[in-house]
């Protein structure tokens, strides 16, 4: 009897001692400590730079309510656990784990600290109490960028340099290709995988290889778009950016691209923690929320194409056109969605196929 009694008492007292997540998370008098981890340098003019800009925006818009700190170059391994644990030991009660592979470490740390809120960029969470995922539908501006590229290409060959064949990246490859082929069905998008979020020598090599095989537009899904954009510029061809607006770095060849604006979302998220309204879940925002945007147009893009792109942007924002709506077939002709069918979150987040027009193997090797 004795040995049953003790665990029961322990369990009950745990419930009593442990306050609910939202209450423990903050106290209005003390600023909320917020920690950010990024996989690469925050000065990469790309993915990590965008998160750092979001953090700076957040800090300057709620200077009294929050205190932020950031650790860059955190590998997507258990190293990330140590950094997050140290942030929590220093008082962080909201942690942004911003890279794809920070998710598994964040899950482990989240399970150990029920009083800390975790925000994972991308991925899909299931059954977590103190971890939510957020992302903006980056494939919407990429679809529009694809449309612009379909109009601008002369060789009908476009190069796409991509990191890992994960759903997030395939969404862009497919949306870009669908967009290009919506105005030019001769377009072929040649995908090269680098197997790393950041490997500039490999990216430059892939860019040169794609240019040699006749691509006249390059785009990418890498942490930093800068290597590919500058290689394209040097070789006198067009580029479509990703993560940030690099118009000024490629004045001759820049077309457009996707750019993040995380700041307002980060303010919103911090407020959910401060006023105890945080709820776990998978939050996905669209282009009209403003966290993912179409970049500025380069000088070379004719006015008529710009207007057409802006009209398409409007159509997507109003929901008149849904990227990945049915009828949708993969490269092998397999029907994925019937006419009129709309894609679900799971459908998009488990993407492991490519649409017709995508050339190259689906696996990195």
């Amino acid at each position: 009897m004795k040995n049953i009694f003790l665990p029961i008492v322990a369990a009950i007292s745990l419930f009593v001692i442990m306050p609910p997540v939202s209450q423990a998370a903050t106290d209005n008098k003390v600023p909320l400590k917020v920690g950010f981890i990024t996989v690469g340098p925050k000065t990469d003019w790309g993915y990590n730079y965008a998160h750092e800009q979001g953090r700076i925006y957040m800090q300057s818009h709620m200077p009294k309510q929050i205190e932020t700190e950031i650790v860059e170059n955190v590998p997507e391994s258990a190293e990330a656990e140590r950094v997050m644990e140290k942030m929590i030991a220093r008082g962080a009660r909201l942690i942004f784990s911003t890279s794809y592979g920070h998710y598994e470490p964040a899950l482990r740390v989240a399970a150990r600290h029920p009083d800390v809120v975790f925000e994972q960029c991308g991925r899909v969470e299931k059954d977590t109490k103190n971890l939510a995922t957020y992302f903006a539908k980056q494939y919407q501006p990429m679809y529009v960028s694809g449309m612009v590229s379909g109009k601008m290409t002369k060789t009908n060959n476009i190069g796409f340099i991509a990191a890992h064949p994960v759903p997030q990246v395939l969404q862009n490859v497919n949306a870009f290709t669908l967009g290009a082929r919506s105005v030019n069905d001769k377009v072929k998008v040649h995908v090269v995988w680098t197997n790393s979020w950041s490997d500039p020598p490999k990216e430059a090599e892939a860019a040169k290889g794609l240019i040699d095989t006749g691509c006249d537009i390059l785009t990418m899904h890498l942490d930093s778009p800068i290597t590919v954009v500058q290689t394209a510029e040097k070789n006198g061809i067009y580029s479509v950016g990703y993560h940030t607006d690099l118009n000024k770095f490629a004045p001759k060849g820049w077309l457009t691209g996707e750019a993040w604006d995380w700041g307002p979302l980060y303010v919103k998220i911090a407020n959910t923690v401060i006023n105890h309204s945080f709820k776990p879940g998978n939050y996905r925002y669209a282009m009209n929320d403003g966290y993912t945007k179409l970049s500025s147009f380069g000088k070379v893009v004719p006015k008529s194409v710009q207007q057409e792109a802006l009209a398409l942007e409007k159509k997507i924002e109003k929901g008149e056109y849904v990227v990945f709506q049915g009828p949708l077939k993969d490269r092998n002709g397999k029907q994925l969605l019937a006419a009129g069918q709309k894609p679900t979150l799971d459908f998009i987040e488990s993407m492991n196929w490519v649409v017709p027009g995508v050339e190259g193997s689906l696996t990195a090797k």
Binding site: P41, K42, T43, E69, I70, V71, E72, N73, P75, E76, S77, A78, E79, E81, R82, V83, E85, K86, M87, A89, R90, Y100, G101, E104, R108, H164, P165, V166, P167, N195, S350, M351, N352, T363, A364, K365
Partner: protein, 360 residues
């Protein structure tokens, strides 16, 4: 006689540790100039690093977590060093250990832990021993330079891991993300003191103490010292040189592999490419700083583990970019290596020896 040599051993360890400490202080002085230049208070910065590495039980356990693979790989380098070989391949042997452990964890995922853990351990050691066995045989039988072979095999090991996690072992549920499935609970080494410290740390310490007795006080230890001192003379004296070189290298690879086993089983819970941020190379450095002395290896790897783990505070409290971490670690490692010569002169005057092997 043997007690005298063990005491000598401890004295050599103390000299290496004191020398390393002095060198770290000079490195910190140099970094302080840089910190002042970028407008930070060096004293506050260093207190921050120290607190982040050794202040409080959480910080200390995280330092031990980083020190564990460094200690094991440093020991691996030392074992090869005692017979006069340069094993630069601890990083690759670590990865092979991780591959071996993972192979068991994912092929018999439902086995209970009393079968799983020993099987993972044994296979990890075997894989590591194979990886160091190749250069050992090439060296012993054909005189091929083991430094080059072990170094190049590191790259092969990394590519092998990449192949496995992108191909046959990729987690079917993780949608193309390069990693294996998560290990079952039975395949995860238990953690100690409610932290991430795992038994690998104690394996490292026990091994180091074991070798600190074996090498100066036993007959095999004597043979190893003779071979390390002069392999030609050893062969002339009909000592089994080939056998000892091969066995030493096999043991060396197996011990480095334990580090990989610990990383996948206790720290990551799965195999992925970033399981070691260069622990094998750091271990090589630590071994030379400790002058191949197993007792000094224990202490120096905890220093260096603290330096790696405490560096987080440069970004957290001092708000300096990551590049500062590289500047600090680079400067300190450089001063440590430069001081290595000075320490060696000082201690060879007292212990009458010049080669690190002979100090044991």
């Amino acid at each position: 006689m043997s007690t005298v040599s063990f005491l000598k051993n401890i004295r050599a360890a103390l000299i290496s540790i004191a020398g390393s400490l002095a060198a770290i202080c000079i490195g910190l002085l140099l970094v302080a100039i840089f910190l002042v230049a970028v407008g930070r208070n060096p004293v506050e910065t260093y207190i921050g690093i120290f607190t982040s590495a050794f202040g409080g039980s959480f910080a200390i356990t995280e330092t031990f977590v980083a020190a564990t693979p460094i200690m094991l790989t440093a020991l691996a380098v030392a074992i090869a060093g005692w017979v006069g070989l340069l094993n630069v391949g601890a990083e690759g042997q670590l990865y092979l250990g991780a591959i071996g452990a993972t192979m068991i964890a994912i092929t018999i995922p439902n086995a209970p832990s009393w079968q799983m853990i020993p099987a993972m351990f044994v296979v990890a050691c075997l894989f590591g021993a194979v990886w160091s066995g190749v250069p050992a045989i090439l060296r012993a039988k054909f005189g091929v330079n083991e430094t080059i072979v072990t170094l190049l095999l590191n790259y092969v090991a990394l590519l092998l891991v990449e192949f496995l996690i992108h191909g046959p072992w990729q987690d079917p549920s993780s949608s193309s993300w390069p990693q294996t499935m998560a290990f079952s609970d039975a395949a995860q080494l238990p953690h100690l003191f409610a932290s991430r410290v795992h038994p690998g740390l104690f394996i490292g310490i026990v091994m180091a103490v074991f070798f600190a007795f074996l090498i100066p006080m036993t007959k095999p230890g004597f043979i190893i010292r003779v071979i390390g001192g002069n392999p030609k003379a050893a062969a002339y004296a009909h000592l089994p040189v080939v056998k000892y070189i091969i066995i030493s290298m096999l043991v060396s690879g197996a011990i480095a592999a334990i580090a990989g086993f610990g990383q996948v089983s206790a720290i990551e819970g799965r195999l992925r490419s970033g399981i070691s941020p260069g622990y094998g190379y750091t271990g090589f450095l630590v071994c030379w700083l400790a002058r191949h002395n197993p007792l000094a290896i224990i202490i120096v790897s905890i220093f260096v583990g603290g330096l790696l783990s405490g560096a987080d505070s440069l970004q957290l409290s001092t708000k300096l970019p990551f590049a500062t971490v590289n500047i600090m670690q680079g400067t300190i490692f450089l001063t440590l290596l430069m001081f290595e010569n000075i320490i060696q002169r000082f201690s060879s005057a007292t212990v009458e020896a010049k080669t690190p092997e002979a100090n044991i």
